[in-house]
Amino acid sequence: MSLETEVGVFIDGVLNYFSTSVQQGALCGTPHLALSEKPELADYTGVIQVSGKRTGLVAFTAPKSMLSVMLMRMQETDMSHENLCDLVGEIANTLAGNARRDFGQQFQISVPAVLSSRASPVPYPDASRPIVIPIDWRNYHARLIVCLN
């Protein structure tokens, strides 16, 4: 699978997630290699470790305000820190898990780890260059970070 096709798999996953889960479509900007070694994080980040045929990670990072509105769209009334962590982890898990449709069963994913600080260290593989997919939903900006060897 070419890099372009692989990135397309994740973009399709993002678009499907928003239109299905919160019934309001998102737009993906132009994917790009991270300008620095470590892409900037938002308030909450869900990280999925990938093992098997491919190794690395998939991370979804979003501001608190965006996650709160997403919870509201799901008719959820509990906007606690715990639920925001839960949601960001679940989104990362869903986007990584959906990629198995194209990557196959050997694309093995971990349970989510959640970071709730912009300064939290993300365990990128050595000598890797993450790809950042910008996501615009309503007036909010999130990112999907894909870093696979």
């Binding site: 499907n16 959820e76 679940e90 869903t94 986007l95 898990g97 069963q105 694309f107 349970v111």
Partner: protein, 124 residues
């Protein structure tokens, strides 16, 4: 109005998803009886609550959904299990069905998709 004939246990490590499934259920035949965060809790809750329906995530800590489906079906062959997972490849779905699940719904899902899958699960 139909009285509930089915008792639903929801198994998922995400609180948001557990609550969403409980809230989205529109079928009067189905009564929500409890929720579990992983396979180990699900086995305990099954013994306590005697559900007739289970929704089951696959990727969970402690005991994953595949192992839990196999153990639940061995314990209660009449139990109807709907696997609800983000793992979207066909082999994962086939594996879950071979272990005894009755259906597979891929995350993300809408309320309508969930209710349609639940309707099929109860044969309505």
């Amino acid at each position: 109005m139909d009285a509930p004939r089915h008792r639903l246990l929801v198994v998922d490590d995400s609180n948001v998803i557990r609550r969403r499934i409980e809230r989205a259920n529109e079928l009067p035949q189905i009564e929500f009886v409890g929720a579990a965060r992983n396979g180990v809790e699900a086995l305990e809750m099954h013994a306590l609550l005697h559900p007739t329906l289970v929704t089951m995530d696959l990727t969970m800590p402690a005991m994953d959904g595949g192992e839990c489906v196999a153990q639940l079906v061995q314990r209660d062959p009449e139990l109807r299990i709907l696997v609800i997972s983000a793992l979207a490849d066909k082999l994962t779905a086939i594996d879950a069905l071979e272990k005894g699940a009755c259906g597979f719904l891929c995350k993300p899902f809408s309320d309508r998709q969930l209710n349609d899958a639940m309707r099929k699960l109860i044969g309505d």
